[in-house]
Structures are given as C-alpha cells and as structure tokens.
Amino acid sequence: MSPTTLDSILQGRRSQPQQLVEVLQDVQESFGYVPEDAMRTVSKDLGVPLMEVYRVANFYKAFSLKPRGKHVITICTGTACHVRGAHQLLDQVHGQLGIQPGATTEDGFFTVERVNCLGACALGPVVVHNGNYHHHKTPNKLRKLIDSVRSTSKEEGQL
C-alpha cells in the first residue's frame, strides 16, 4: 500500500472528522479495499476515534475490508430486475464460479456482488463488470461474459 496515495487522499482534509465517509470512499477506489493500516492512519489524521472509523468501514456496502478480485461482477437484484429473473443470474454465477455474492473466487479472479438497484430498470436484468454496464442479461449471456473474461485474461497472461 502506497503511503503517498493515502497522503494525497488526506490532503486538505486533516482534522476534519466529517470527511470520514468521503476519505474512505477514495481509499476504497484507490486500493480496491480499505486496509487496516489505512484505517489507523485515517483515524489519526482526521481526528476520528479508531472505533468510529471501523464502524463506518463496516456499515456501508461501498467498503470492502478484504481485497476484491480482479474482476468484479455486480448483479442488480432490484425489484424490476428481480421480476425479470435476476435470481437466475445469481444461480448461474453460483453454479459457474461456486461463490455466493460478497465472496471472491479462490484464485482471486472474480468477486461477485449484489446491488439493490442501479437505476437502469427498464433494461434489466442488469450486470456491471468493472464499471461496464450490460443490459438484458440472461444466464446464458452471463455465462458467456464470464467465460470470455477468463479467456481474454489467459491470453494476456493474467491467470
């Protein structure tokens, strides 16, 4: 973990406890999760008790205390997507990758997350892969997406 990145995140925000949520958001974005040392540093520099930093990091779904996989697959389970069969996508991903939402595959490659509505309801079921939105996903299309991500990464020597 780079101390300089954390430093730039805290720049201009030191001793401002109300910035805690925004600071942790930036930490999550930069490191992909919220490391323990980061929480200790943030606690010291913002002037927030460590207990509070830990509480906030655990409360909001945006924060992950464990490193996430290289590819984050987020499945929307909002009402409109649910009514269009989003649960089938969960079943598909469970069968294909063997993990439940919130978990990461053992090789650290895929993380599956659930989200309760992204606001693209007319296009459901919606799946987001590393920030890219995919619409009208069926289990078959999702299977193909995951397979193609795997094979592209094999080619690029990431696996």
Binding site: E36, M39, P49, L50, M51, E52, V53, Y54, R55, N58, F59
Partner: protein
Amino acid sequence: MKQYVTLTIDGAQVRAAKGASVLDAAIEYGICIPHLCHVPNLSDIGACRICIVEQISNGRSKVTTSCTLNVQEGMAIISNSEKIKKLRRNIAELLVAQAPNSKAIQDVAVRCGVKEVRYPFRNSDCVLCGRCVRVCTEMWKARAIGFVGRGKDRHVDFPLGKREDFCKHCGSCTMLCPMTITPCKGPMRPGEEYLCGKCEAQLMITENRPDSCVWCELGKGFQCARYSQ
C-alpha cells in the same frame, strides 16, 4: 435555576425539570414504565422500544419512546393503554424469543405481560441494548468497544476486531450487561424451551398493580432505573 414544567402521565399531574425525559419523570413518580436500554446518567437512544408511550396532541396519538421524549408544559402521556400494553408485550416477546437465557430479559418479558412465545427460541448472547457501548463511550470516554455492522450483522466489537490498549479493563460493560445472569432454573435445554420467570409471587403482586412501581424482584432483574435512585 431549574425550570419546571407540568405534564400529565396516565391522568396524573407530574412536575418535572426541563430537559428531563418522560421516562425519568415517570420513574421519579413511581409510574411503572418497563425499560431495558435506559441507564441513568447515560444518553438515551430509544433502541429497545420497551418504554413506548402514547403522546396525545390535537386529538391524535403518537407512539414514541418515553426515554427520548423530553417533557414539555401541558404534554399528555398515556403509558398504560391496551394498545401500548399489547405493543410492549409483542416487543418483549421478540426479545425473549431471541435471547431467553438471561434473567433480565425473562423478567422484562414477564413484566410486560408475555405469557406465551409464538416464535422458535433462538439463543443469542446479546440483545444490542447498547449499555456497554454507551458506558465505555460516554462515562469512560475510552471508545474501546462499539457497534459494528448493519441489521442482522450488528454486533458489539473492538476496533478492527482486536482489543486495543485503550481498553482499561474497567469491567463497567460487563456490570451493566443484562445477559450476564442466567434464569433461576438455569439455561434452557433444547426440547425444554419455555418462558421462565414465572415466579408466582412476583406475578401476583405485579399483575394487581400493573402501572405503579411495587419494587418488584422483576425490576431488580432488568436493573430498573428506580433501584438506582
């Protein structure tokens, strides 16, 4: 100079200092409003919802917790309507179904009139009343423990899951915890799940006078604030 206001609780005229809560005023006057998460000299958060009362204004009634409601001149409070009693009983039923192996929880349930538990018993060792967290945060300012997580995951924990050196091992958290004493007949065994605390003597006394304090043993069980006065 302390300022006082007059309000009515269950029809009785009550005089209380400004800034006091309705629960404080009731306890002082010996009106029995059961409570669990309230601890004198610590902040009130209204988490357990046992101390609910009806606030009547403009002909409309609003159900709210008496511990978070500050007294105001002319307020009209009902703490013992059938509606409130039923709601209180249902909440206590939820609590005791969740954590039956505590004398305090069993006592609260009996005081609130729970006769049968209609949910499968679980065996939680924490009801998230927050007494431990508040004493550590407010009285000792140590912040060595706190509530972590959301919803079903909510639990009391150390920062980063490890006891830090700013916990001074003072033991206040354990002293206030309602879960530390098991019911008289011992912990429940699977297959022998029933509601204890049916001490006949206590029920005889408290059921005759449901609304006023009779210094019952049940109150000692859940550390009723009247005992600390």
